[in-house]
Symmetry: C2
Subunit: 212 residues, 2 copies
């Protein structure tokens, strides 16, 4: 399982600082949507130039103009971009077209999609590299939220998937056991007193688990 | 009915140039999602500073972190921001909270929402200033697309609404007759040989229509 750090920060400077602290323990560096909207595509370029050996994941959350939005993010240096599962199939197909031309990938973010299992299968057929079983920050803040619904959906869908929704040291083992391809960790790294140590511990937790 | 120009361009320079050409004929200047993602929030500030007498509409298409995304766009100078109708109610409520604190407004973009009538009523109750009956660029490109479904949904919902989906000189009268509060025009202005003339003609078309 790969480890992805989601950088929900708001400046290129903070993003570069955090990426520098955690890169050696993660596989994928995610630039959050508010970060991209704040700084523009230049933040993608800056992080990719600083970390050419890492996959740079641009959380574009594209809802329309799929081919164009994917193109501009890939050209800026992204390896993976997100399109919303709530988007029209033609939007997802447009982004996939842009990805295939460049040997890059589209991740479909299933945030807000009620039937994640069905949509996961559909978008995989459209060419998504994997789907993100994702509960947003606003959804996580609601009382009673837990990660298990996302894990069950990932297992049931039977397509490559990542899990994002407050993954932390106490839950990353469950994410791996569910068969996720990628665990996405945000606040448990960027909000930690020592982000480097937090990333290192998460890396160890998933490295040394014996095969099921 | 107000006239909104949607600037689906990709640079601050082009946006300022187009806004300069059409501002005097429009009420609302919209910065498209790909433009914001490309340039960052500074494009909002640049356009608002150049046109302080116009409403600046930041098409953020927020899907998560509603309060934060609205806040940063308002602080950059936006008067109106969009949140997706596909977003969780808590995301819309968060953006509305940020808007109310600043006497600004949230527009809920119903792109990709199947039952636009029901969702329009729901998000109006959550505090949306108006809803956008919107077919995206990808949807408009599909064979058989026409604007009438959006107009019917607007009439039926019975809440303040705008219409966006390839509105042009030949259809703007129908938009006004449907009772829309705002007509959103994109390519018919920014793609015109003479954008100033195109905006002027659209303005005349809606100014001089006698009351129904």
């Amino acid at each position: 399982m790969k480890l992805q750090v989601a950088m929900d920060l708001l400046s290129v400077e903070d993003a570069l600082k955090l990426a520098g602290k955690v890169a050696k323990y993660v596989d994928i560096i995610e630039l959050g949507t508010p970060l991209i909207k704040t700084e523009g595509l230049s933040v993608i370029t800056a992080v990719k130039e600083a970390h050419p050996d890492k996959l740079v994941f641009a959380d574009m959350k594209t809802m329309d103009a799929g081919e164009l939005e994917a193109e501009i993010a890939f050209e800026a240096g992204a390896d993976l971009v997100t399109v919303l599962g709530a988007a029209d199939d033609s939007t997802i197909a447009g982004a996939v077209k842009a990805a295939k031309l460049r040997s890059k990938g589209v991740v479909v973010d299933l945030i807000g999609v009620e039937d994640k299992v069905t949509r996961a299968k559909e978008v995989r057929a459209l060419g998504a590299k994997f789907v993100e079983m994702h509960a947003g920050l606003d959804e996580q803040a609601k009382p009673g939220f837990d990660l298990n619904g996302l894990l069950r959906a990932g297992v049931e869908a039977g397509v490559p998937f990542s899990v994002a929704g407050g993954v932390k040291p106490s839950t990353i083992d469950a994410v791996q056991q569910a068969g996720a391809d990628v665990a996405v960790v945000g606040a448990a790294i960027y909000g930690a007193a020592d982000p480097t140590q937090a990333a290192k511990e998460l890396r160890s937790a998933i490295m040394w688990r014996p095969a099921a």
